[in-house]
C-alpha cells in the first residue's frame, strides 16, 4: 500500500467532486494548449503571407526590369494598374465595361520612331457569370462576376519567342503556337471549375474550342488566338491592350509622349510608371503587414492575459479543493500522525493527490485541446487569422494574395506545447496543494483525532 495507491483511492472515492474538479481544470488545460496553438498558427500564416509578399514583389521587380522597353497602352485605366492598387480588381471586366482600341492604331503606332514591336491583346470577360463570396474587413458579401477571362494573343512566333505574352507554367499539354486556331490553353482553376482537361472541348461564346494545354494559375483564364477571340466576341478589328516595345530604353519616353499626344483617350504606362506602381504597392502591403503585426501583438497580449488567468484559476481550484480535502480529512491526518506518519509523509500524501488530480485533468484537457483548439482559440483570441480580409489580386502575374490570405489557418497544438502545458499543469497541481499539504502536516495529531 504505497502513498500513490492511497492517493488514487482518495481521488476516486469522491467521484462527483473529482469529476467536477477535473472538468474545471481540464478547461484551463485546454485553454493553455489552444491559445499558444492559435498564436503559432497566426505566426505561421503571417510568415506565409510575408514570404508570398516578398516573392511577389521580387518577381514584379524582375519583370519590370526585364521589360524596361515595354510601353503598355490600354483603353481603360485598370490595365495600366495591373500590378494592383487598393482599387484594383481581381478580374478584368469586373464592375467595369471593356473598352477597345481600334486595330488601325497598331499600324499608326508602328510608324513612330524607335518602335520595335507591337503585341496586341484582346481581353474579354466570359458571358457566363458566377456568384462569389468576398470577405472584406467590413464583412462578407456575394457578388456576380464572369466565370473567366478570355485573353486573345497574337500568335506570331517572333513575338512568342521574344516576349512573355503567353503563360510559361504549362503543367499539362502544350502552350499555344503560331498557326493555332480553334484551340485554347486554360488555367488550372478553370480546368477544375469545368472539369475540362487536355483534349476535351470547351464552349466559349457559343463556339467549341479544343483544350491543348493547362497552365498553373489560381485565376480562371482562357488563352486563344486573338483572331479567334475577336471573331467569337464580335470584336473584329478591336483590341483592349497593346504592348509596344521600343528599340531601346532611350526611346521609351519619346514614344510614350507621341502616343499620349496622338491618343489622349488611351492610357500609357512605361517602366517608370510601373516602378511607381510597384512602390505604391509595396507601401500599401507594408502598411497591411504593419497592421497585421499590430493585430498579432494585440492578440499575443490578450493570449498572455488569458493564459495567466488559466494558470491562476488552476492554482486556485487546486488550492481550494485541497484545502477542503484537508479540512474534510482532518481526522485521517490525526490517525496517520498517531500511527507514526511524519509531517513529510503527510505533506507528500496531499501534494501527490493534487498532482494526481492535475494529471487526470491535464490528460482530459489535452484531449479537449487537441480536438477543440480551433474553436477555443477563435473564441478566446481577437482573431485567429488577422489576414482573413481578402486583398486585391494580381491577375496578370497569376498572383492572388486574396487566395493566400484566405487560406484557413490550421490550429493544432504541437507535441512540444502539449508536453510543456502538461508539465506546467503538474507543477500548478503541486504548487496549489503545497499550502494545504503544509497545513495538514502541521496539524496536531491530538486535535485532529478529536475532529469530527
Amino acid at each position: 500500500m504505497g502513498v500513490l495507491t492511497r492517493a488514487v483511492r482518495n481521488v476516486s472515492r469522491r467521484k462527483m467532486r473529482t469529476f467536477l474538479v477535473i472538468i474545471a481544470l481540464s478547461l484551463s488545460m485546454a485553454i493553455m494548449i489552444s491559445i499558444p496553438a492559435g498564436i503559432m498558427a497566426n505566426q505561421k500564416a503571417a510568415q506565409s503571407i510575408i514570404e508570398n509578399y516578398n516573392n511577389t514583389i521580387t518577381s514584379m521587380q524582375e519583370e519590370i526590369n526585364k521589360t524596361s522597353t515595354l510601353i503598355e497602352i490600354s483603353a481603360s485605366s485598370r490595365r495600366g494598374m495591373f500590378f494592383g492598387t487598393p482599387s484594383g480588381m481581381p478580374f478584368p471586366g469586373f464592375g467595369q465595361e471593356e473598352a477597345f482600341i481600334n486595330a488601325t492604331v497598331v499600324d499608326e503606332i508602328s510608324t513612330i520612331e524607335g518602335v520595335k514591336d507591337i503585341v496586341p491583346f484582346l481581353e474579354v470577360s466570359s458571358e457566363e457569370t458566377t456568384e462569389d463570396t468576398m470577405s472584406t474587413p467590413r464583412g462578407s458579401f456575394t457578388i456576380s462576376r464572369p466565370v473567366y477571362t478570355i485573353t486573345g494573343v497574337c500568335l506570331k512566333s517572333t513575338l512568342i519567342d521574344n516576349y512573355s505574352i503567353l503563360p510559361t507554367n504549362v503543367i499539362d499539354g502544350r502552350n499555344l503556337i503560331e498557326g493555332d486556331s480553334g484551340v485554347i490553353g486554360i488555367s488550372l482553376n478553370l480546368s477544375d471549375y469545368y472539369s475540362v482537361y487536355v483534349g476535351d472541348k470547351l464552349k466559349v461564346y457559343g463556339e467549341t474550342f479544343k483544350v491543348v494545354g493547362i497552365y498553373n494559375s489560381t485565376a480562371r483564364t482562357v488563352y486563344m488566338n486573338i483572331t479567334d477571340a475577336q471573331r467569337i466576341t464580335n470584336n473584329i478589328g478591336n483590341v483592349t491592350r497593346l504592348d509596344v516595345y521600343a528599340q531601346g530604353i532611350s526611346y521609351v519616353n519619346s514614344i510614350a509622349d507621341v502616343i499620349e499626344a496622338a491618343y489622349p483617350e488611351l492610357y500609357v504606362t512605361t517602366y517608370e510608371d510601373r516602378l511607381a506602381n510597384l512602390e505604391r504597392t509595396q507601401a500599401m502591403y507594408e502598411t497591411t503587414l504593419e497592421n497585421a503585426e499590430s493585430t498579432i501583438s494585440q492578440t499575443q497580449a490578450v493570449a498572455f492575459q488569458e493564459i495567466l488567468i488559466a494558470i491562476v484559476a488552476t492554482s486556485l481550484i487546486v488550492l481550494f479543493m485541497m484545502l477542503y480535502t484537508v479540512r474534510e480529512r482532518t481526522k485521517e491526518i490525526g490517525i496517520l500522525k498517531a500511527i507514526g506518519f511524519s509531517n513529510w509523509n503527510v505533506m507528500i500524501q496531499f501534494i501527490l493527490e493534487g498532482i494526481l488530480l492535475s494529471a487526470m485533468a491535464g490528460g482530459v484537457g489535452a484531449l479537449i485541446g487537441i480536438v477543440g483548439a480551433p474553436v477555443i482559440s477563435s473564441l478566446l483570441l481577437p482573431s485567429v487569422n488577422p489576414f482573413s480580409a481578402q486583398q486585391p489580386g494580381f491577375p496578370r502575374q497569376n498572383i492572388n494574395f486574396g487566395t493566400a490570405l484566405s487560406q484557413s489557418v490550421t490550429v493544432t497544438p504541437d507535441l512540444q506545447t502539449l508536453l510543456l502545458a502538461f508539465g506546467v499543469f503538474l507543477l500548478l497541481g503541486a504548487l496549489g496543494s503545497l499550502y494545504p499539504a503544509w497545513r495538514a502536516a502541521r496539524t496536531s495529531p491530538m486535535e485532529a483525532l478529536r475532529y469530527e
Binding site: 500500500m1 504505497g2 500522525k337 498517531a338 500511527i339 507514526g340 506518519f341 511524519s342 496536531s444 483525532l449
Partner: protein, 262 residues
C-alpha cells in the same frame, strides 16, 4: 538491566481556556515494567485520555517527564516525535480509527510505510498479525463491512505492526457490547501473556479493568496511591485454537489434542 519501559515523573498538564486554567493532570508518577498489563481506571473527565495522549507522544505535558525506553520524550523536538509513535508506541482507539477506504490488511500495513521492510515483508507481517487477532479470513474486507469487534481487532493488529515497546489502549471496549468487549480484553490479555506485549489501557469499566494485571486509579487528574491486582486471565480465557480446551500461556502444544499452538 532495568525492566522499566515507561515512567512518568511529576507529570502535569494544564489547559488554559481564556483566563481559566484547568489542571487536567497533576503530579502523576507512573512506572510500567516490560510485560505489564496496566489498566488505569477513572470516571469521565478524570484525565485518563490526557494521560494516554502524553504517554503516546500525541501531546506535550506542561511539566514533568515521560521516559520511554530510557529516553525523555518531553525533550524530543516535535518534528522528531513521529519516530517514537511509529516504532515505540502502538495506539488503540475507542473509535478504532481505521481508514475506511483501505482493506483490513492495508490498514495493518499502514504503520509499516516508510520502514525498511519490503512490500512482501509488510504483507507477510500484516497477515501474521491478522491471524493473531483471528481475522485472516476477512483481511480483504474494508472497515465498513466489518463488525465493531472485528474493526477493533484490525486496530489492535495495526498497533502491533512495528512491534512497539508499549501498546496504549484508550477505552478499547468503549464502543463495543459486553460480549465483544470481553473478547477484545481477552485478546489483549493473550497478547500480553503470549507475546509479552506491554499494555497500558485506560477504561472506566471495572469489569474490563479487572482483566489487567495491575489496576491504577485516576481521579481529578491525580493518580491515587492505591493499586489493585487484577484477575488477569481467568480460567478458560486461553483456549487451544484446535480443540478450544483451556491451555496455559507457556504451552506450545495443547495437552488435550496434542496439536502445536502458534
Amino acid at each position: 538491566m532495568s525492566n522499566l519501559v515507561l515512567e512518568t515523573e511529576n507529570l502535569e498538564k494544564v489547559y488554559t481556556i481564556g483566563r481559566r486554567k484547568i489542571n487536567a493532570l497533576s503530579d502523576v508518577n507512573l512506572r510500567v515494567n516490560k510485560g505489564d498489563f496496566v489498566a488505569i481506571m477513572g470516571p469521565s473527565g478524570s484525565g485518563k485520555t490526557t494521560l494516554l495522549n502524553l504517554l503516546g507522544c500525541l501531546d506535550r505535558p506542561t511539566n514533568g517527564k515521560v521516559i520511554l525506553d530510557d529516553i525523555d520524550v518531553t525533550r524530543v523536538p516535535e518534528k522528531a516525535l513521529w519516530k517514537f509513535r511509529k516504532h515505540k508506541i502502538g495506539f488503540i482507539f475507542q473509535t478504532f480509527n481505521l481508514l475506511p477506504y483501505l482493506s483490513a490488511i492495508e490498514n495493518v500495513e499502514l504503520p509499516m510505510e516508510g520502514t525498511k521492510k519490503s512490500k512482501s515483508e509488510k504483507r507477510k507481517r500484516a497477515h501474521e498479525l491478522l491471524e493473531i487477532v483471528g481475522l485472516s479470513a476477512r483481511k480483504e474486507h474494508k472497515p465498513p463491512r466489518l463488525s465493531a469487534g472485528e474493526q477493533q481487532r484490525v486496530a489492535i493488529a495495526r498497533a502491533l505492526a512495528n512491534n512497539p515497546t508499549i501498546l496504549l489502549a484508550d477505552e478499547p471496549t468503549g464502543n463495543l457490547d459486553m460480549k465483544t468487549s470481553f473478547e477484545i480484553v481477552r485478546l489483549l490479555s493473550k497478547l500480553n501473556l503470549t507475546q509479552g506485549t506491554t499494555i497500558v489501557m485506560v477504561t472506566h469499566d471495572s469489569n474490563v479493568a479487572s482483566r489487567a494485571g495491575r489496576i491504577l486509579f485516576l481521579s481529578d487528574g491525580k493518580l491515587l496511591n492505591r493499586e489493585k491486582k487484577g484477575m488477569h486471565l481467568l480460567k478458560g480465557d486461553l483456549t487451544c485454537p484446535h480443540c478450544h480446551k483451556p491451555i496455559q500461556p507457556d504451552h506450545t502444544f495443547c495437552p488435550r489434542c496434542g496439536k502445536k499452538i502458534e
